[in-house]
Amino acid sequence: MKTLLQALGPVAQAVGDGLVLRPASERELVAVLAVLRDRQASLGAEVMLDRSALARLGAVQDRAMTLEAGAGVPVRVVESKANHARLTLGPLSPMAWEASVGELVEHPALAFRAVVPGRLEPIAAGITGVLADGHLVRSAVGPRHAAGPDLASLLVGGGGALGLVTAAVLRLMPLHDAEQRRLFSFGTFAQALEATREALSAGVTFARAVLRGRAGRTVGEYTLRGAAAQVDRELELLARCAEHVGGRFEGLGREAEVDGPEREASWADLASALGHGGSVELFRPALTSVIARGVAAHEFIPPGPLFKGLRAAFDRSHVLGRGP
């Protein structure tokens, strides 16, 4: 450990029996990873990576509604700066608010936000990162591309298994005060889920929803946030979608939060939870998946051969020591 500390230089600091590495730039992170590879060492409990020094926080790009932030910047700090420009990262899940930018952008579920009609898009419009093999990846900042494979996807949502994000250009949206809730009840939980999917597909973007069984029916409380006119439009749409599948308007609603850890879940997972008499709280509802509380943990699915191959190719020496 001592020789490793010497080899790493000032970027490393001994803490207890281990080391904490605090690179302040991509170049330093590249150098750190090179030393670890040479010494056949890995990041982990003994050699911890602290990205807090990657703390650059750029200016808000008001027209594109983006903001570049270093991986170590807390998400709340980004939000605060965005709010000054009357922008926001949007309705994130509670877990996301506690993350750093690096953790947010690398997280398999939190890295994506829901957009109309119920689809997902990366929160990061562009990223800079370092792959485990020491090479940089810098994706172009832009809405979409057809320029080859999406190299940013090696890092975005990658769980830090193939490389580490050092900075990200985050997508923002206008900060609006309007927030409204509506409560509907349904004859079955399947109807409640169908109404929710139909609303998403039709163009409703709710910030949060709670579904739970009550008195033989399933109630759904939906929270919408945004510009007042937008919220009004989408509330009307939501009501029509709910009624279309037999839902009944039950008032403005205020359902209690659901306890438990946040997980990315499929709609089958939600059905399973509700079918067993549970309640679910949805934070990033999309047709593809949701982030929810109240759903059971997934069985461990071994990483597929594609992922194994990628890890072997980019992190042959397991320098990142991470992965699903």
Partner: protein
């Protein structure tokens, strides 16, 4: 190739052809440069053979044989690419995937459908429509492109502002890697990177797509069109930006620059189709000769013509909202308010409906223009809102030396939009025309990327943009090379494309 023929024939159960007809038909795509060659009586180097595998196992066997014999394999859908992405520059075998033509039942709960890579786009959308669903993917190539081609080149449809590009519709993809291994990417939720996104857009250089599970939506109950005339391109762009900033998601957004507006503005209402058509007969017999003379005199001197286009300032802006009827109407009203506040003049629904009716007609102009001795091509890039206008101005400035330049803006997002340039040029000789074409591309793409655009929004890279693409990657080139080594260690898949 001859040595491998027997083995290949065996695994595809005889579905192999070395006939010149098949080789020539798959040997060129719709890259306009190959149309110039066609006019000169030249053809791109054809592949050595075409095979038609029908199962993933057959594809895997073809790949394994190709690895053993070091044969190039080029995945082929319907050849609608416009960047030379399927040209057999190193010979080899064209892997025609059209036998993967199954369309599964729609899962109404999960709102998805399993589709083979060889399914033609229009066939898929019609089949879905008959069942009450839509993919929401309407590229102007929909009648001539396959699902596999969409996946390989990250295709975008005309309604992408609402439904997204094809990569937004994919739940999982399946296929065969250049190693010969079959794969199917997991569906959410999963841990680790989304490998599907790493493979999409690889243009046949990393894998052969054989199918996908795609998101579908109920067919829209209503479509609401509205068009505006805006005082300038800048005002039009600002109107679009505001619309998206307000959370509105129209399915269609199209802003035509003043010169392009003069063309869309000429659109006449639909008239009943008559056959026989004297007009078509006239177009076919008399017009080519007249156009040829005109083309050389006008399009051959873009430096004289382009400045005239700057005299026009007013732009046409078209929106279409679709979905639940009342919601679409409400979105339309909100859009109208935003556009009027930018000085837009409401033109009603007519121009939008007219555009919708003729939305694929752009393809029909190509034959007459090519016969008239011109070159015509399009360049599509995207950029953040901060850079969009600068990209527009810079490209017009440099490309104007080689061709007439038109542009429209579409595929809008909250953080930017796509710019779609059309170039029409000519010259005194075929050699001069081809030379101008090449210079135009170097200049236009260079200007776009230096002003903040990417190299492609939805046409892909192929051969045409390979160098610019590699330049744009910077150090990311290493990551791409690593992917290539991992998924296609022998470099047999579509060599030469993406600069690989």
């Amino acid at each position: 190739m001859l040595e491998a023929r027997g083995a290949l024939e065996a695994v595809v159960r005889g579905r192999l052809s070395t006939r010149e007809l098949d080789r020539l038909a798959t040997g060129r795509d719709l890259w306009p440069l190959t149309l110039l060659w066609l006019r000169q009586g030249k053809v791109p180097p054809p592949p050595d053979a075409v095979v038609w595998p029908g199962t993933d196992d057959e594809v895997a066997s073809v790949v394994r044989i190709a690895r053993e014999r070091r044969l190039a394999l080029i995945p082929f859908g319907a050849g609608s690419g416009v960047c030379g992405g399927t040209l057999a520059v190193h010979g080899g075998v064209m892997v025609d995937l059209k036998r993967f033509d199954t369309i599964g039942p729609v899962d109404p709960v999960r709102r998805c459908v399993d589709v083979g890579a060889g399914v033609m786009g229009e066939t898929l959308e019609r089949r879905l429509a008959a069942r009450g669903w839509t993919l929401g993917h309407f590229p102007s190539s929909i009648g001539m492109s396959t699902v596999g081609g969409w996946l390989a080149a990250r295709s975008a449809g005309q309604l992408s502002s609402r439904y997204g590009k094809i990569e937004d519709m994919v739940l999982s993809v399946r296929g065969v890697l250049g190693t010969g291994e079959r794969f199917e990417t997991p569906e959410r939720p999963f841990d680790g990177p989304d490998v599907a996104q790493v493979l999409l857009g690889s243009e046949g250089t990393l894998c052969v797509f054989t199918g996908a599970r795609l998101r579908v939506h109920p067919r829209p109950e209503a479509r609401v069109f509205r068009a505006f005339e805006v005082p300038s391109v800048e005002r039009g762009l600002e109107a679009i930006r505001r619309v998206f900033r307000e959370g509105l998601r129209p399915a269609v957004v199209r802003l035509y620059d003043p010169f392009d507006t003069t063309f869309v503005g000429r659109a006449k209402p639909a008239s009943p189709r008559k056959a026989p058509s004297k007009r078509s007969a006239l177009e076919a017999t008399v017009l080519p000769g007249v156009l040829k003379r005109l083309a050389i005199e006008t399009l051959g001197r873009p430096g004289l013509v382009n400045p005239l286009t700057r005299l026009a300032t007013r732009s046409r802006l078209i929106f279409m909202c679709e979905g639940e009827a009342k919601h679409a109407a409400a979105e339309d009203r909100a859009i109208a308010a935003a556009c009027l506040s930018m000085g837009g003049v409401d033109l009603g629904e007519g121009p939008g409906r007219e555009w919708y009716r003729k939305r694929y007609d752009v393809n029909a102009r190509l034959p007459r223009l090519m016969e008239a001795g011109t070159f015509i091509d399009t360049m599509e890039v995207s950029a953040p809102w901060d850079a969009v206008f600068e990209v527009y101005e810079r490209v017009r400035e440099v490309a104007g030396a080689y061709a007439l330049v038109l542009c429209h803006f579409s595929h809008a997002y909250a953080d930017g939009c796509s710019l779609y340039f059309s170039f029409v040029g000519s010259g005194r000789t075929e050699a001069e025309i081809e030379d101008r074409y090449q210079q135009l591309w170097r200049a236009a793409l260079g200007a776009a990327t230096s002003a903040g655009a990417n190299v492609s929004h939805h046409h892909g890279i192929g051969l045409l943009k390979a160098r610019a693409y590699q330049d744009s990657l910077g150090e990311g080139r290493h990551a791409l090379a690593t992917l290539k080594r991992l998924f296609d260690p022998d470099g047999i898949l579509n060599p030469g494309k993406l600069g690989l």
